[in-house]
Symmetry: C2
Subunit: 183 residues, 2 copies
DNA sequence: GTCTATAGAGGGATAGAC
DNA sequence: GTCTATCCCTCTATAGAC
């Protein structure tokens, strides 16, 4: 073997990281295998040493991105203050303007919804783990899904807007509502 | 002329309607010109009699779909009860399961965000009209953006889930939160 | 494991007949 | 205005050299 045994695992990890960023920025279906490999500093021929098909890579990207989102919620299992800080960062202009570095849900959820059953099953499991984490940090566990939906929807819509002012107006209104206790 | 003068306008309207449905179901970029035309009962050669390019059709589809969404809010300019009914229908399992017949925001907002400036400018104008309508029907106008973001995010995420139970749990929680007055 | 080269399918767009 | 036929490009995936 001309490559050390860890080479493949490392190459795959780097490939998945750059592919995740590229997929979030330009869309997964809209990005060709050639571009994914070029971004990782390789050519398309090497792709199939790591994934059986482009669809298989989508599964891996989604799994990796959702695990990362879960990890970003913090290690503390149920800290309301940490959740509040997370939501503030999530609903920031910086997050809206840099999809490649952000959460995969506003960028890729529509494509996941159109994907095959295995992808949606993995997605569902990851989302339930995320939901449990958020619910544990909420005064009312029933607030978890509404909070998640609101945050994802806000970033999705802000990204589709043209002016920074409109984006900021939307994000500000949602930030205030997310921080408002329910009756 | 072998076709009556209204023929082109009618053909274009039918084409836009079927293209909107197809784009919402399968994604706009992922659907080829051939399939858009086949769905309208024609062939790809006729496409360019109506649109200068595929990108031009995207603009037209987005404009048409957003106008339709606005119209579905009802003619009554500021009726809180009509808004509540609209939100209930929006957050239904039927809406989640039939993207082709539903709102274009959960389906196409990510693609709009990746689109060229003219598309995002049209989007922004339409969204501000929609926001004004919703704000007029809310007790607190500041609730308009949060409510819209929440509804769009909920449908987007529910569509990506695999099981009907999970979809219903998410939708139910968001419906309850949307109907809860803020302090 | 990664490369170059290529097969085979499908994409957007145009030309010319009717 | 719509058709068929076609150009050229890009896409996914495979083959064979190293």
């Amino acid at each position: 073997m001309r490559y050390p045994p860890e080479h493949k695992a490392r190459a795959r990890r780097q490939l998945l990281a750059s592919a995740g960023a590229l997929a979030k920025r330009d869309g997964f279906a809209a990005t060709g295998v050639d571009r994914f490999m070029a971004e990782a500093g390789a050519t398309s021929g090497a792709f199939y040493a790591h994934f059986g098909s482009k669809a298989a890579m989508f599964e891996a990207v989604v799994e990796q991105e959702l695990a990362q989102s879960l990890a970003m919620l913090g290690d503390d299992p149920a800290d309301p203050a940490a959740l509040a800080r997370f939501v503030e960062r999530y609903l920031s202009l910086a997050h809206v303007e840099h999809p490649e570095a952000g959460c995969c849900l506003p960028s890729l959820a529509a494509e996941i919804g159109r994907g095959p059953e295995p992808v949606r099953a993995r997605f569902e499991a990851a989302m339930q783990a995320l939901h449990a984490r958020v619910a544990a940090a909420c005064a009312d566990p029933e607030r978890a899904w509404p909070l998640i939906a609101q945050a994802v929807g806000a970033v999705l819509l802000a990204r589709a807007m043209h002016s920074t002012d409109s984006r900021a107006a939307l994000l500000g209104a949602v930030r205030r509502d997310a921080a408002t206790p329910r009756r």
